[in-house]
Amino acid sequence: MTAATLPSVSTMPPASGELTESGLDEESREWLRGLHAEGSAREDAIARLHGLLVRAASFEVARRRPSLPHLRGNDLDDIAHQAADDALVSVLRRLDDYRGDSRFTTWVYKFALLEAAVKLRTRSWQGREVPLEPESWTVFSSTGLEPDEELEQAELLARLQRAVADILTPHQRTVLVALALNGVPIDVLAERLGTTRGALYKALHDARRKLRSHLEEE
């Protein structure tokens, strides 16, 4: 792919402070030099970076492909390229956040994997209702448990069910039920509720902590 076909990004180098290059491997230094250069040198580096991101996003798509039988090859290619485009924008916007805690390629891969994973999870739930009410308090399998263990766990589940109804806020209840009980992916729920993954996990974490301390106090 040439720079001319890349998503629109500024060709101006980021307003960077001094690069902290000490301790970086040569390849990571080379990436930073290219991306902080000007003109065609930077455009070349961006084109190579985009190629790297396409590779990472395609890797994620290939890993998830068996669980997405309804998506065709073209759809999956489109998702990989859209993910790489979005990751490129994020990487260039956050270039100054790279502190050299890992190789540069490892740092950028995670952006492409995140974008691809979010897009795949969102696509797999497209058009589906997101269940926010408990669907399955009583339908669990207890294969492999001894009878006394099964009874103990069933009692714990019943106590949890009461605690969810009694002590959680409505928002905590919605988040816990959707994510932990109904298996809604966190990105999908974040999109439906108009919030962020981080904020939802915080609500889930608070709900779980409340439940654990309630069970200990009972």
Binding site: R63, F140, S141, L176, A180
Partner: protein, 77 residues
């Protein structure tokens, strides 16, 4: 349809008992954590709270597995 496992369900409802970081911090630290893991270093000691988060967050767990596989040179599937 296969019924969900009771033990797994309890684990998902109660989450990890240990202190954990959140999704945003997990994303910030994931590249360092994976490289330490692949180098055989004690990633959990160097990045406390990340392992617990992975056990409580399926989305971050998937992304950790993918980054580890990609950087570790595993085939995609």
């Amino acid at each position: 349809m296969e019924r969900p496992d009771l033990t797994d369900a309890l684990g998902r409802l109660l989450g990890p008992a240990e202190p954990e970081i959140g999704c945003d911090e997990c994303f910030e630290l994931l590249d360092r954590y994976v490289e330490l893991e692949l180098a055989g270093a004690d990633a959990d000691a160097a990045v406390p709270g990340l392992r617990a988060h992975l056990s409580g967050c399926p989305a971050c767990r998937e992304e950790h597995e993918s980054l580890r596989a990609l950087v570790g040179g595993e085939p995609p599937a």
